[in-house]
Amino acid sequence: MAKTYNPQLGREHSYPYEHREEARDWHWGMVINTNRCINCNTCTFACKSTWTSGKGEEFMWWMNVETEPYGGYPMGWDMRLLDDIGADQTVFEAAEDGEQVRGYVAREEEWEYPALGDDQAHGEYPTGDVVESDPSNDEYHDMWQFYLPRLCNHCKNPACLAACPRKAIYKREEDGIVLLDQERCRGYRKCVKACPYHKPMYNPETGISEKPVGCFPRIEDGNVPRCVSSCIGKTRLHGNINRGPDAGPAGGKKSAASGRSPINYLVKSDEKVALPLYPQFGTRPQVFYMPPYHVPPEFLTQMFTPNTDEKRNDWPGSTYEESVKIVQQRAREPSHHVLGILQLFGATTRLIETYRVTETRVKGWDPDGKKVVDIPFDEGLEVREGEQWTNQP
């Protein structure tokens, strides 16, 4: 059994396969700002209408948005696993004999109500009182709900890949997308059982499992996934999570900016504002969330941090709950630079490889080094001169 270092956890753990020596130059990654998400599920329908509207796929929503705390697709998926594994155990370490990954196969009924808990809030009605949040003052909504968009995380320690006895699931060399070979699969459903996020799904018509494909036909064309380009709340940014501060200009073009990709900045810089979903499972998911800053950090610590008493990774703060609070505050009051990156969300369908934030504008370049975004922080106010113009025509 190989060992792998997991930076999200700040420690090593077992994983059935050896990793590459060098990180990929380009790796699929995403940041989702839950604070902007309105649970319109446009992303959900975009994905389904593109990929899973066939026979046997009726119950499949590779992309779904669930309302916390009561939603869940499949029902209660995270509660079950959290209850099942120990305080400091990855799904690999918790695996039973003969298995690579600890997990379970959700029942048919558990898949059938994708909108369960939609828009439900939790809490006591504040009779005679109000509800407020102010993360800088440690205040959070006593009654709360928030929306959690969920999709395949194209993990760096994919549980699905680890579990497949036929090695029919693989991670692409050029972009890290994890795919399930539709011709090699025999429908054993070990992946369905293993994925802690329950994104591989079994097709009862074909007898084969399917999993989200990272929209790779779009990626290969230089476009972001459908869930990203369809998001009208402008909650998402997608790109090369591996592109760090030392990388050269995009596409090698002098006119393009160098250095980090925008999502790399949001996730890995010292202004970190985005956290992975359930990193304690150990799969190194590559979708990161700007956590909802109105929600009590106790809940979010369990959901967006390794959730151990001892803090081992390089996130801000001395405990994981502190990490959450700091990130919440950063999301509530973003710096000029982070606000600049937020302008890139939903600005283009093209992959943004590098970017630049100035005092007044934000620009982005695609992997070929072509400029694809050039927008102001603030739009101008245009006033037409002349007696005949009115705003009440």
Binding site: T44, P114, D181, E183, R186, K234
Partner: protein
């Protein structure tokens, strides 16, 4: 997925084996692997199979059109086609290469408009193609079997079967009926005055009604979109800004508006304010989904909203946080009011040589001269203030607070005070935060804090929505008070500061050349408020006093129009009261959405006494309304349309044109073509001397002539508008164009605040005290909070002083202690997409299942074609069903668990519906009405049968009332018409449709008319039946408590 034998061999040679088809959930097969895979984390030997997904993604063609239902957003979308069938839609990023993009003179570039308006198009646009193919589509014209031109047999509506007819037959029947009307005014069109089908769709219905001399029903006022407080205060239909302005605000108060659900494409602009240092406070009875985006939620007793704003006003006044200069320049606050009769003092009363206006009000309205006004300068001397002297033109520096005796020109003296003194006295005495806490249940300290923060903010914006519009008094009182607060803070006419409503698709105003099309050659249909027809014509009529909240019957009523009985208040002659012999609705699910649904269906639709002899419904789907029609006409979806059409929306400055991307799948015709064919028949049937115009056909020739081109109608409309005169139809074929307005982003009243132009009122200023007789009569001349006529535990229709010690008998004696609100769902646009499969699953929340019961689905299909289908509750729902949200305490009180059925009832009707336990509802224990939430727009098929009432009307609107606010029924309220700016109507060219437009008074559809206030109703709720099935409920899970407090992992702490 199976391979042919040949492929199998090929694959086997290449190294991978075929999959064998299994079935159900259990079966799998195994075959020995042929290919070695070493480390799939590092590499994979054979990736040819990936072509499968390339093939799925591939398309034959892509074409774009615009999705523009009544959500008001208007979104262009690309549709990808395989074999001529759209398989998916994708959002468009207009600036990108290859995308339909803006041309000149509009476009995004000129104001350095950011790449922020895109993407647009929500999940409904993404299922537009599924909606186009769903079983509920109407496939061909049909006539109700029980109907004939001479014997309409109204009782059969909704029950008879339909039979197919040809288009020619259907058109002929309609034209024949119209031709035989003894009074053309009896031809009524309800095409929903919306900006989403302007020329070649239902807008053509208006054109037809205009040239025929008929009447048109509106939607904007009937459905409670119109915020009368805006018109009362400013004379302007609705003050709304472009969404791009929202993010400039420092502080937002959002009250009774679930914006994150109903402005999907533009809501990010509002959310961005918090990223930019802004703060947001929400005022709702429940933890509305929008509350999660708020820094503070003030839970409010429904119907008490005006008191909230009055409390905030109290703080601003008593702590002197107001901008006196702004108040002086733009409002009536410095103007003198006579204390004896409540009229604004006129200049000719104070100054001997000052010319008076005409003696009678009617002439005053005709001449647009209501006299001049008076203020006191700093020196105590009166000065004349004309309606033009606003802004920097305000004479002297008038005193804001005056309470004195003034000597008049004739030597007499009269006690006077300023509008500000008047409002201040009332507010300071009656609306301190502690009293407001009693009224609203909002803690005084938090109200105060909110008021101070709002006053301190540089740019404060305030939103209300239909949550407010639907309450009888909140409807105008709250709105007027918000303008008062915003005027005190100088928060009007600036980007990021203002007061907005955004309910409804009404921004036809922005297409200001439109009268050229709908009122051609000056012909105009009579505007008619639907509530009058439903209330006063038909079987049992409604009590005209009760529906006006006038239980003491003090209001003077007179017969009017086609009504024989006294049903209209005096001084409301301009309000049309015409009996609809022919009623034609287009793009409107009238009967599903109407208030007082049971009454409307039983006493109007199905009753012979109505005199409604022909009811025509044009629609895409076999809706509840279509089922009750005499003639049903199928129209194409936006994907299938044959003629392009244009659309505008209230929160964006773009004009867009749609066009069909696929062939129609059924025997449909677009509304414009239908109207054209009717017009052609009318020429045949109506002799020239009896026609209202020389030729009806002439007005629709572009639809009918060989070489006709309907784009000419579009171009004519564009040429006649200031916002569009530089736009060519050809430009629209390439993408959206930007409307030409005074500012980008559009900021209402920009010119009033920055260029000294008057508001559209008598005084030329924002008016808080209203001197119109009706307001004085009703005691609503000033800013006050008045308890609801029904929705309150306290005294009805009273101010708090009296009301607090009284009891509403409906609440206390009859026990109706709940109300329900019907917020706009995101998965539907009202009732549109109501039967689209994915939308139905998600709209049904906990009860939405992908495991459709096949026989349930069949039942739905049958229902649409033949309305004899029975609705039965099956064991498992077909995709989804309606539900009502109830607080757990209230549910427990009546023994109801999640999934059980309840009966909701009141004096007007009742419905049976499944209950969903919902902690975010305002419980009865909060002290007043328990809240029930039914998301708006369910079809009757989504509701179970009521075994105790099998023949009753099934719908979620059966308990709501048709309220008529007599304050909105007066000929004296001055305002501007829908189109045109009277301030500059002489400056614009004569070709512009509103050249010469003047201020108006009295009824004007969608501007000054009674508005619906549907939710001001009390109901009771009781258990009906146990659940026959229910999905999981996370609340019942043992694990959920520790999950929520973060202690689930690792076991008990």
């Amino acid at each position: 997925m199976s391979l042919s034998r040949r492929d199998f061999i090929k694959a086997a040679a290449g190294g991978s084996a075929a999959a064998l088809v299994g079935d159900a959930w259990g079966a799998t097969q195994t075959v020995e692997p042929v290919t070695e895979v070493d480390n799939p984390l590092k590499s994979y030997p054979n990736r040819d199979w990936e072509q499968v997904y390339h093939d799925i993604y591939a398309y034959d063609e892509v074409d774009w059109t615009v999705c523009h239902p009544n959500c008001t957003q208007s979104c262009a979308l690309n549709f990808y086609m395989k074999n001529g069938v759209p398989i998916r839609a994708e959002q468009i990023y207009h600036e990108e290469e290859g995308s339909p993009g803006p041309g000149s003179p509009g476009g995004y570039e000129q104001a350095d408009v950011s790449q922020h308006w895109n993407p647009r198009g929500c999940m409904k646009g993404l299922t537009l193609h599924r909606r186009t193919f769903e079983p509920s589509r109407i496939k061909y014209p049909m006539v109700r079997k029980g109907w004939s031109p001479d014997e309409p047999n109204q009782e059969g509506r909704g029950e008879d079967e339909f039979e197919r007819v040809s288009w020619d037959e259907a058109i002929d029947l309609i034209a024949e009926k119209m031709a035989n009307l003894d009074d053309e005014k009896r031809f009524h069109v309800f095409n929903a005055i919306k900006a989403d089908g302007l020329i070649t769709r239902h807008g053509a219905g208006r054109r037809l009604a205009s040239i025929f001399g008929g009447a048109e029903w509106t939607e904007y006022d009937w459905y409670a979109d119109l915020p009368p407080g805006h018109v009362i205060t400013t004379g302007y239909q609705t003050s709304d800004a472009d969404a791009a302005a929202w993010r400039a605000a420092d502080y937002t108060i959002i009250q009774g508006k679930n914006l994150i659900h109903n402005k999907l494409a533009d809501n990010h602009w509002l959310q961005e304010t918090r990223e930019r240092g802004g703060k947001m406070v929400g005022i709702y009875p429940d933890y509305s989904p929008t509350v999660q985006k708020c820094d503070r939620w003030l839970p409010v007793r429904p119907g008490s909203d005006p008191a909230v704003a009055l409390g905030i006003a109290h703080v601003i006044i008593s702590e002197e946080l107001y901008d006196a200069d702004f108040m002086r320049q733009f409002t009536t606050l410095p103007l003198l009011i006579r204390k004896d009769d409540g009229k604004y003092l006129r200049a000719h009363e104070a100054f001997p040589d000052h010319e008076p206006p005409a003696a009678d009000e009617e002439t005053q309205h005709e001449e647009n001269d209501w006299g001049d006004f008076v203020a006191l300068g700093q020196d105590g001397e009166p000065v004349v203030v004309t309606r033009e002297s606003v802004g920097t033109e305000t004479p002297a520096t008038p005193q804001l607070e005056v309470d004195t005796e003034l000597e008049l020109a004739d030597g007499s003296s009269v006690p006077v005070h300023t509008d500000f003194s008047r409002q201040k006295a009332n507010i300071v005495e009656n609306y301190d935060p502690e009293t407001v806490e009693e009224i609203t249940t909002i803690p005084a300290g938090k109200l105060r804090q909110t008021a101070r923060e709002f006053a301190a903010a540089e740019k404060g914006q305030w939103f209300t929505g239909e949550g407010i519009n639907h309450w009888f008094h909140s409807n105008d009182s709250l709105q007027r008070t918000i303008f008062f607060v915003q005027s005190m803070l100088g928060n009007i006419g600036e980007r990021g500061a203002g007061y907005y409503n955004y309910s409804g698709q009404y921004k036809i105003e922005l297409l200001d050349g439109y009268p050229t099309y709908v009122n051609p050659d000056g012909h105009a249909a009579h505007g008619m408020y639907p509530g009058y027809a439903f209330g006063f014509f038909g079987g049992e009529t409604l009590d005209p006093h009760a529906v006006r909240g006038d239980f003491d019957e003090e209001l003077d009523l007179v017969p009017q129009g086609d009504a024989d009985e006294p049903v209209m208040p005096t001084n409301a002659d301009s309000y049309t009261m015409s009996r609809p012999a022919v009623l034609w609705t287009m793009n409107c699910n009238l009967l599903n959405q109407t208030k007082h649904q049971g009454h409307v269906v039983e006493n109007f639709v199905k009753h012979p006494d109505t005199g409604n002899e022909l009811f025509v419904v044009s629609d895409m789907h076999m809706t509840y309304s279509a089922r009750h029609a005499d003639i049903v006409l199928p129209v194409p979806s936006w994907l299938e349309c044959e003629y392009p059409d244009i659309t505008v929306g209230p929160e964006n400055p773009f004009l867009q044109m749609d066009h069909g991307v696929m062939d129609p799948i059924y025997d449909t015709k677009q509304d414009g073509e239908i109207c054209a064919l009717v017009a052609e028949k009318l020429d045949e049937k109506v002799p020239p001397e009896e026609r209202n115009v020389d030729s009806y056909r002439e007005y629709f020739a572009e639809f009918l002539d060989e070489d006709g081109d309907v784009k000419n109608y579009i171009q004519e409309t564009l040429d006649a508008g200031m916002t569009t005169r530089d736009i060519d139809v050809e430009d629209l074929e390439d993408g959206p164009e930007r409307l030409q307005l005074k500012t980008y982003p559009r900021i209402p009243f920009y010119s009033q605040i920055h260029e000294d132009r008057p508001f559209y009122t008598k005084t030329g200023r924002m008016e808080f005290h209203k001197e119109e007789d009706r307001f004085l009569e009703l005691g609503r001349a000033d800013l006050d909070h008045i308890e609801s006529p029904e929705g309150t535990p306290y005294g009805t229709n009273q101010k708090w002083e009296q009301a607090k010690d009284e009891e509403n008998p409906l609440y206390h004696d009859d026990g109706y202690q709940f109300y329900y609100n019907t917020p706009h769902p995101k998965y539907r646009t009202h009732s549109s997409w109501g039967m689209t499969d994915w939308n139905l699953i998600w709209a049904s929340r906990d009860f939405g299942s992908t495991s459709a019961d096949p026989s349930g689905t069949d039942r739905l299909v049958e229902d649409f074609s033949f309305p004899t289908g029975e609705g039965e509750t099956n064991e498992v729902p077909p995709l989804g069903e309606a539900f009502v949200e109830m607080h757990p305490e209230d549910a427990a009180d009546i023994g109801v668990k999640n999934g059980d059925y309840v009966r909701i009832s009141n004096n007007r009707g009742d419905l049976v519906i499944r209950a969903m336990i919902s902690e975010r509802q305002r419980p009865h224990s909060a002290g007043d009405m328990g809240q029930l939430t039914i998301w708006h727009g369910w079809w009757p098929q989504h509701l179970p049968d009521d075994e105790e009432n099998e023949d009753g009307v099934k719908g979620y609107n059966v308990t709501t009332n048709i309220w008529l606010d007599p304050a909105q029924e007066t000929d004296d309220l001055v305002h501007k018409g829908v189109f045109g700016d009277p301030n500059i109507s002489e400056e614009v060219e004569e070709e512009i449709a509103w050249h010469g437009a003047e201020l108006e008074a009295g009824y004007e559809e969608t501007v000054w008319a009674p508005t619906g206030t549907n939710r001001d109703d009390l109901v009771e709720v009781e258990k009906y039946a146990e659940a026959d099935w229910w999905p999981g409920d996370a609340r019942k899970d043992d694990l959920v408590e520790s999950y929520i407090d973060g202690s689930l992992q690792g076991g008990a702490d």
